[in-house]
């Protein structure tokens, strides 16, 4: 035990937890912490331009490394600006510790300057939060925050520290024992149930793995075990937006992403399978579509660390509560140990059926020599970056779905996107966090021009810290997904989804001391993407694309998986069905 001030305890706890970088923005109620930050060199502080950016940057850092992301912001507006990021992290289960300053304890409740009820406001958007009212509680709160953020289903934790506590002196220690005896996330799955799952898998005729972000959160080991199990069984696999990269997209057992903008083969397989093995996925409405028509003929095995995810939207026939890595390890072991002979004939027929769905080529689009199609832009981006050490972040909207469809991921932790909350403005600050964690890597934010303007100021952060992030804007001048829904569902009345006064992104880049590139013709795309990669500075790439392009396939919400809409270029289904397929359908 060493005596120190509360502000010094914050630094000591961060250092003890192995934190290298903390994202933040100073203000009156965190001045003692900033005074401690500047007098040490264990923890590196990154100054953002807005507190929302700090939280997204920490999310990018956390998701690309598997470590806890950290943030420090001031009281009042500092804390409220962080709320969007906190909610985003809660929805996508990202481990964060966010330290907020608070007015001195004797002023709490007095409507003091820059006071807000931070624990009250953040209670529903954090996994847990603390208001530390005595210096004796501070070391424990700080260390427990890391434990809670990272264990079980990860999530954001807020530690609200009044300014007088930051000045107060006390004994610093790292607690050995966790105070909340009720908090014990279950990591080992029930072995009897895992055995039952193996039996169900052995008997399945049309099985399917449906995987999600829980695998990425569980870590590399979980992804490797999944790959092993998928290989052993020979079953097809699809994934949610959040789970991309857990299984390599280049593999022939991969069906592509499922859900609202998933592939024809993934969604039809979900609809027609007789056994669904859900691993670390939560049956979100963007996945299930219309619930009463969701995969009507299947038994469902649901593996999740959070019991409240099970039976929330879809009734599971077999629920296994536990960490993916632990459960998958048991599954691989049991599958190997038991002399299971899957019904090869049935599986072959299932794969033939899937083959006919694949032949539909649902991601097809009509390319152009005149105008850049957004899908083509992402295809070229992939071709020119696939052999590099690349990380992709996105904003939210059409470009995000096209990125998920046309940029295949082979490894986990390479894909950072706002899935649950759908936060426009996530990608740029997230890329800052990713680049900081991976200094030598190529970090690209695939963006839309509307989203990126929400947190554009973080380009200044990237410039300040020499973080050469590449902001690849698919500029269609529309809030593309809003426009698409208006076109399909609201009689083509494009209410306020067109931006009439966009900035000149090349000049904007120059104003920020970054590098600007504009590309308007498909013929110059490759050359300009190469330029973007080669420039050792942050780049704003204004890729001017077809403003009318829509994102397909699409399950209009409230419809079933077998009611997908396709773009006009996709092959007609009649042409794609083989003789074997006709027997199955």
């Amino acid at each position: 035990m060493t005596e120190m001030t509360g502000a010094e305890m914050v630094i000591a706890a961060l250092a003890d937890q192995g934190v290298e970088h903390i994202f933040g923005y100073p203000g009156g109620a965190v001045l003692p912490i900033y005074d401690a930050i500047v007098q040490q060199d264990k923890v590196n502080h990154i100054l953002v331009r807005h507190e929302q950016g700090a939280v997204h940057a920490a999310e990018g850092y956390a998701r690309s490394t598997g470590k806890v992301g950290t943030v420090v912001v001031t009281s009042g507006p500092g804390a409220t600006n962080a709320v969007t990021g906190l909610t985003d992290a809660l929805c996508d289960s990202v481990p964060l510790v966010v330290i907020t300053g608070q007015v001195p304890t004797h002023l709490i409740g007095n409507d003091a300057f820059q006071e807000c009820d931070t624990v009250g406001i953040t209670r529903p958007c954090t996994k847990y939060n603390y208001l530390v009212k005595t210096i004796d509680d501070l070391p424990r709160a700080l260390h427990e925050a890391f434990h809670i953020a990272a264990s079980g289903r990860p999530g954001p934790v807020v530690v609200d520290i009044p300014k007088d506590i930051q000045f107060a002196r006390g004994a610093y220690f790292k607690p050995k024992e966790f105070q909340h005896r009720g908090y014990r996330p279950k990591v080992k799955g029930d072995l009897d149930k895992i055995k039952e799952a193996i039996d169900m898998m052995a008997a399945a005729k049309r099985p399917l793995f449906y995987t999600g972000g829980g695998l990425i959160n569980s870590g590399r080991a979980a992804c490797d075990l999944l790959r092993e199990l998928v290989k052993l069984t020979g079953f097809p696999i699809t994934s949610t937006l959040m789970g991309l990269g857990a299984f390599p997209a280049a593999d022939k057992q991969w069906l592509g992403m499922l859900g609202m903008h998933g592939t024809w083969e993934a969604n039809w397989s979900m609809h027609d399978c007789d056994l669904m093995i859900a691993v670390g996925a939560r049956f979100d409405d963007r996945i299930t579509g219309r619930l009463d028509a969701f995969s009507p003929g299947s038994k469902k095995i649901h593996i999740d660390i959070d019991p409240s995810s099970i039976n929330k939207n879809v009734k599971a026939d077999l629920a296994i509560v536990g960490d993916c890595a632990h459960v998958l390890e048991d599954m691989v072991r049991l599958w190997r140990a038991s002399a299971i002979v899957p019904d090869k004939k049935a599986l072959q027929a299932w794969w033939e059926q899937i083959g006919t769905w694949r032949a539909k080529n649902s991601l097809a689009f009509r390319n152009s020599n005149e105008i850049i199609k957004p899908q083509y832009a992402i295809q070229r981006l992939y071709e020119l970056t696939k052999d590099r050490d690349t990380y992709i972040t996105t904003e939210v909207g059409q470009h995000q779905m096209w990125a998920a469809q046309f940029y295949p991921f082979q490894e986990p932790n390479r894909w950072m996107t706002s899935g649950g909350l759908g936060t426009m403005g996530y990608g740029l600050p997230a890329s800052v966090g990713v680049q900081l964690a991976h200094p030598g890597s190529l970090v690209i934010d695939i963006a839309g021009e509307a989203s990126v303007l929400m947190t554009m100021q973080e380009l200044s952060t990237a410039v300040q810290y020499d973080l050469p992030v590449k902001i690849f804007i698919l500029n269609n001048q529309y809030m593309g997904m809003v426009r698409q829904w208006q076109e399909l569902l609201h009689g083509k009345r494009y209410a306020h989804s067109y931006t009439e006064a966009l900035p000149d992104f090349v000049k904007l880049a120059e104003a920020y001391h970054a590098h600007g590139i504009r590309c308007t013709h498909p013929g110059e795309l490759d050359e300009k993407i190469r330029e973007m990669i080669d420039v050792k500075k942050p780049v704003l790439f204004d890729c001017v694309v077809d403003p009318a392009e829509n994102c397909f396939p699409m399950i209009p919400s409230g419809r079933a998986h077998n009611e997908m809409l396709l773009g006009d270029a996709a092959t007609r289904v009649e042409d794609a069905v083989t003789e074997a397929g006709k027997v199955m359908v």
Binding site: R123, K127, G182, P307
Partner: protein
């Protein structure tokens, strides 16, 4: 585009209606600041019902409080409520006393009645029948204390209505399982 005539809206059809059940849940929590707000906020934020809620510290040394909540929902919603409660960090245990075997439930009420003459006599007579105690009296009023299951208190209050009922203060339901085992 390929839209059918039935698709008048893109919003999901409401899911099939299931039978709504009433349940008594006992929640053991760390007695720390904000814990009640976490529990209530969960119910409010996710649209669950609270029919009755009682909370008090039950083990001082261990800083444990017991929350008894009476709630309603379909079996799927009830399961969600239990799982969501269980996942709150300061929650130790959630026990469903409606389905977890035989249980006792009690509520305490204080009932103020104002009246004279025959009404006063009748109120006293009924109080005696319901084993309610007089805990305050004035020349024209009584305050009764009554303990029992909620429906017994409901009946007593209804009987007092024509006799000059002024106001009622009720604790809400507390419950405990029968037999030697604890929660």
């Amino acid at each position: 585009m390929n839209t059918t005539a039935t698709a008048t809206t893109h919003y999901p059809a409401s899911t099939a209606t299931e039978q709504v059940e009433t349940r008594i849940l006992c929640v053991l929590v760390d007695n720390e600041p904000g814990v009640l707000a976490r529990v209530i906020g969960l119910f409010a934020g996710r649209g669950y019902n609270i029919d009755s809620l009682t909370v008090s510290e039950t083990e001082h040394e261990k800083h444990l409080s017991r929350i008894t909540v009476v709630t309603r929902g379909t079996p799927m919603v009830i399961e969600q409520i239990k799982n969501q409660l269980d996942r709150l960090v300061p929650v130790h245990r959630v026990v469903d006393l409606t389905t977890g075997g035989p249980a006792l439930q009690r509520e305490l009420a204080m009932v103020k009645v104002r009246g004279k003459g025959e009404h006063r006599v009748e109120a006293l007579r009924l109080a005696d029948a319901f084993r309610a105690r007089v805990i305050d009296a004035s020349p024209e009023s009584f305050v009764f204390e009554i303990t029992g299951a909620s429906d017994k208190i409901d009946s007593f209050v209804n009987l007092m209505l024509p006799l000059g009922l002024v106001e009622v203060s009720r604790t809400g339901v507390v419950a405990i399982s029968r037999g030697p085992e604890g929660m």
